[in-house]
């Protein structure tokens, strides 16, 4: 028997920081066959499958790893898509270190199996599925084509339903196309995943804004159920002076211009603000994405301001590392108090230093302003990456749909809302969260829809 490598995982080839800083091509390059097989062989095949329990969509991880180890990549793909609708996406953007890989037995003493990298490997080399006839068990309308909507549609189609997705933008994918940059999740990968879903029977109607072009009530007349996966809504701002100056952007705007509208390409008609000194406020993955886009758009300096310390940064470690390698600087324990402007344009940002005090309700130490610590940083662009509030359009036009005070749709763990036949999941329910949690919510809602509709008939 060959010796099992239980120590270090196989490294992922990554483009060098100097060359990748100036384009939007993918940073991580992916395993080859040999490396994938070697990495998969590291799996111990634990009986109690801790990794699979850590997966929000329940991918049969040990089973697909065993198939990869045997070189049966096609079968491994079938195994993954039995549970996940977007494996090439989740293989790239999931926070595996806190989910599957975080639960891996190997991780206790050494390094966990690189499950995410293997999922990506399997998904990237999979052949396109053969078209299937549309299911006849019922018709479900899905609002929004982001991760929640796509996962819900994929699961419903697999269960024999016809799923029709209504998307407000001109292209499907939601945050996968407008938010996450190409260098982290190439748009061709998203398109391939969506093509795979449409060949399995999912229908997508673009340029259709539910709440404006049509209402949920109208959809309920034509469909057996409606799933709301409307995602992130209005960007939050700090409410400080100068925030509406030219040169202050929400991360949503900055990323949408860059990613969805491809403003970095010479022949794109969409403008993007070319700045020398960019400040990004916030510490999540969206802040990292915005900072790394700013680097690629040619900024001379990009600085992320975060009000707590590095330890509390909510962004994935890998994203923070990549950002640092690319030259993004960080100022921790820093809180903006005012944006300075001249003739309506940003010239700088006034900040205060912070210290960490007592733990707050989230279990993190609360940042407290340090007296007399005000200072100014020069800036010609400021990007606010502070999260979002849910989109108001559906709630406004759907009588009886219960929402929380901040606007999140009230739904149980299976996505059931206050209205019969209406389900919801993803950021519209939880507020800003991750792609995989949204996928999990979409999938659970699909299971609930199937269960509820089967009971009725």
């Amino acid at each position: 028997m060959s010796e099992r490598n239980t120590g270090g995982r196989n490294p992922m080839p990554v483009r060098d920081p100097i060359s990748r800083r100036s384009d939007f091509e993918e940073v991580a390059l992916g395993y080859d066959e040999e490396t994938a097989i070697a990495e998969a062989k590291r799996c111990l095949g634990c009986k109690n499958r801790p990794c699979a329990k850590g997966c929000p969509v329940g991918v049969p991880i040990p089973e697909f790893l065993a198939l990869v180890a045997e070189g049966k990549f096609g079968e491994a793909y079938e195994k993954i898509v039995s549970a996940s609708s977007l494996p090439a996406v989740s293989g790239r953007v999931c926070p595996q270190e806190t989910q599957c890989e975080g639960k891996c037995t190997l991780g206790i003493r050494g390094e966990a199996v690189a499950i995410g990298r293997l999922e990506r490997f399997v998904a990237d080399r999979a052949a396109r599925p053969k078209p299937k006839p549309v299911g006849k068990k019922g018709r479900v309308a899905i609002v929004g084509s982001g991760p929640a909507g796509l996962a819900c549609a994929g699961e419903l189609t697999a269960r024999g339903y016809e799923a029709v997705i209504f998307e407000a933008l001109h292209v499907a994918g939601g945050v996968l196309v407008y938010g996450i940059p190409n260098f982290r999740l190439p748009k061709e990968v998203v398109r391939r995943e969506i093509d795979a879903l449409t060949s399995r029977g999912v229908k997508i109607v673009t340029n259709a804004v539910v709440g404006q072009s049509m209402t949920v009530g109208e959809l309920l007349d034509k469909f057996d159920a409606v799933f709301l996966g409307t995602g992130a809504g209005l960007p939050r701002f700090m409410g400080i002076e100068g925030e509406n100056a030219s040169g202050v952007f929400s991360a949503n705007e900055y990323l949408t211009r860059t990613n969805l509208m491809r403003a970095y390409e010479k022949d794109s008609e969409t403008p993007v603000y070319r700045a020398e000194k960019v400040i990004v406020v916030g510490g999540g993955n969206v802040a990292m994405d915005a900072a790394r886009c700013a680097v690629r758009l040619g900024a001379a300096s990009v600085t992320v301001l975060y009000r707590r310390s590095e330890e509390e940064l909510p962004a994935r470690k890998e994203e923070v590392e990549h950002a640092k390698e690319e030259g993004v600087r960080f100022r921790f324990l820093t809180l903006p108090v005012r944006i300075l402007e001249e003739e309506g344009k940003v010239t700088g940002i006034r900040c205060v230093g912070m210290t960490l005090g007592e733990e707050d309700e989230s279990g993190r130490r609360r940042p407290v302003v340090k007296e007399g610590s005000e200072f100014t940083l020069p800036a010609d662009a400021v990007i606010m990456a502070l999260g979002t509030s849910p989109n108001p359009l559906v709630e406004r036009t759907t009588e009886g749909l219960e929402v929380k005070p901040r606007g999140e749709i009230v739904a149980d763990e299976w996505g059931r809302t206050s209205l019969p036949r209406v389900y919801a999941g993803g950021d519209a329910v939880t507020g800003s969260a991750t792609v995989i949690l949204a996928m999990g919510a979409g999938k659970r809602a699909a299971i609930a829809i199937d269960e509820d509709l089967s009971k009725e008939s």
Binding site: A168, L169, H170, Y178, T206, N207, A208, V209, Q212, S213, M214, A232, G233, L234, P235, F237, G239, E243, N244, A245, S246, G247, F249, S250, N252, E253, T256, R257, L260, M261, D267, S268, E269, T270, P271, V272, Y273, E343, G344, K345, N391, P392, L393
Partner: protein
């Protein structure tokens, strides 16, 4: 694709298009807008719905050819398709209950003012329209306004058509003499700012229709934000109409110029393309 059924030049830089868009026409109301993307490389731009034909499933849009995106749109002809057109977006104008109104339109803003004047007329209100342009060559929709207005005042900056001056003069004369329930102003930001200043002393409710820079138009990107009564509002989902006495117009004017350099470069690029074609 959204097929262009009719295309007409209203003046040398303003174009009207009748477009097949059944999903938009079905629910559209006066005051709402659409986001249009001319082609695959195109920018998403907000354009107000100028007329709605539910039976034919069509709407018309009126736009001024000013930047790269509107130039691309203008290159399309009858029978061509617009890549993307989504709507209706924004809240409809709240016009119920108004008995006497002044509708003020400035330049291409008249395209937005007209359906509002029409709707007011349909609701039985007395409608006085004040429309202003830089000069005679730029006058659009005069006859359409005449048809739906109890009285019409036409002004031009240079006096080449109608009264010489801007919309504020007839507006002031009207307000000095008669009571009105509401003034609705749609036009360039400086015009709306001065209309608001003009009507304020009279205490008459004044509404301005804002048309800031937008991308998605559905409450996602936040770039259409403006300050109204000290609060940040989003024109796409909270507007486009707001209480004109509370809008921070100076801020809105500054924000509108965020991409001015880029727009100038885009114009240059497009013009060069035209020039090249002409030479070939």
């Amino acid at each position: 694709m959204y097929t262009i059924i009719e295309k007409e030049k209203l003046n040398f830089s303003t174009v009207r298009m009748l477009v097949e868009a059944p999903l938009v026409a079905r629910r559209a109301q006066a005051g709402q807008f659409v986001i249009v993307r001319a082609d695959e490389r195109g920018e998403r731009i907000p354009l107000t719905i100028a007329s709605i034909d539910r039976a034919r499933g069509s709407i018309s849009i009126i736009f001024q050819v000013v930047g790269g995106a509107t130039m691309s749109l203008d290159r399309l002809s009858v029978g061509d398709g617009i890549a993307d057109l989504v709507g209706p977006l924004g809240r409809p104008s709240a016009l119920e209950g108004i008995k006497r109104a002044i509708v003020v339109g400035g330049g291409v803003g008249c395209a937005i003012a007209l359906p509002i004047a029409e709707k007011l007329r349909a609701l039985g209100a007395e409608v006085v329209s004040v429309i202003g342009f830089r000069s005679r060559e730029l006058v659009i929709l005069e006859e359409n306004f005449r048809a739906v207005s109890d009285r019409l005042f036409l002004v031009t900056d240079d006096g080449s058509a109608g009264e010489k001056g801007n919309v504020c003069a007839p507006l002031r004369r009207l307000l000095e003499k008669e009571p009105f329930d509401e003034v609705i102003a749609i036009g360039p930001l400086p015009m709306m700012k001065y209309v608001a200043l003009e009507t304020k002393p009279f205490g008459v409710k004044t509404v301005a229709s804002m048309n800031p820079i937008m991308i998605d138009g559905t409450g996602m990107c936040g770039c259409c934000r403006l300050t109204v009564g000290g609060e940040t509002k989003f024109a796409c989902v909270d507007g486009p109409e707001f209480d004109a006495h509370k809008i921070d117009f100076d801020e809105a004017i500054r924000r509108a110029s965020t991409y001015r350099e880029f727009e100038a470069a885009a114009r240059e690029r497009h013009c060069n393309l035209y020039r090249k074609e002409a030479e070939e």
